[in-house]
Symmetry: C2
DNA sequence: TTCAAAGAGTACCATTTTAGTGCTATTTGA
DNA sequence: TCAAATAGCACTAAAATGGTACTCTTTGAA
């Protein structure tokens, strides 16, 4: 279903909490209890986010995590990059993975364009938009229109 | 890595072959030998594509597959829908999957927008563009510019 | 000085998903 | 009637995912 991993999703939730909570330090246990996620999972994710440079950590007693930079400067693409590596919708979109069909295949370049378009969409949404009040989702990315009510409503194909 | 499944990728290759080969019937074995994929895999994929209505099949001797409609009317989104079900980047993007965080989570709506944007990008690329002559990839979707050389850092030309 | 609260790092396992294969039934032209 | 071809399951091996456990290091405070 072209889904991103649950952990990436959770990471977004965690970052959103940190962003909303302000600049103070928050322990993993604190974040876990506020978000409803498991403590070990939150701990693991915060570690990864710290390695990626999205949050900063303070060790020792009274330690914790906080956002490394303002929420406006953290994009959805950053989060995905941190947890899943660069977006690569096909094998040939990634530099280190080889596709043996590459010589016969003529569709690769088109997927590259799609890949780039997706990346742009991800880059365009920042954390402060993610936590924006539910009623006012201000998309800078206007393409969302006209795409039709695909994701939501009734006719759930559920073809799986 | 936000990757689509290999089978979906292969399906695209198969459809591209059918599109390029014209309106005649092609057997699964034929397609397999031309694309370099395994016969059982091709067979399975063509079955799925037939169920999704992207190709039509003729049973019996001298049977085979062909595109159900002109290549211009088959989009990348169609292919992904056929094999992976509707695009749903998060659990809450899909109607039949429940996320227990949905009450606490404030980021869902933003992901919905991203989801829609991705869907639009996929819908905008049709099969005839996928097989378009390598030198003239005409993107109707101009956003591909300016996104930077993200996907192919090094020598990943792949634009054959 | 000592202790306990935190994060850092690593390794591991259970589950799920993916990819591929095999087999049988059905259709249909020759 | 036969053989070529798709239709439809059912199954298995391999990989990715999600979650957990454990030890090590840092550091503020008693
Ligand atoms: S070369 Fe073709 S088949 Fe291989 S990963 Fe790229 S698009 Fe897919
Ligand atoms: S509700 Fe929030 S946590 Fe749950 S799937 Fe949607 S975005 Fe992710």
């Amino acid at each position: 279903m072209l889904r991103m991993s649950k952990l990436t999703d959770y990471a977004t939730v965690i970052l959103a909490y940190l962003a909303r909570a302000g600049g103070e330090l928050h322990t993993a246990a604190d974040v876990a209890s506020r978000t409803g996620l498991g403590v070990p999972t939150v701990s693991k994710l915060l570690k990864l986010l710290a390695q990626a440079g999205l949050v900063t950590s303070v060790r020792g007693a009274q330690g914790g995590y906080q956002l490394a930079r303002p929420a406006e400067q953290i994009s959805a693409a950053d989060v995905i990059d941190a947890l899943e590596g660069p977006v690569a919708i096909t094998a040939c979109s990634s530099a280190d993975i080889q596709c043996e069909l590459e010589s016969v295949c003529r569709v690769g370049s088109a997927w590259q364009r799609i890949n780039t378009a997706i990346r742009l969409a991800l880059k365009d949404v920042s954390l402060d938009q993610l936590i924006g009040s539910p009623g006012t989702p201000r998309p800078r990315f206007d393409l969302a229109e006209a795409a039709g009510a695909d994701t939501g409503p009734t006719a759930r194909g559920a073809s799986r």
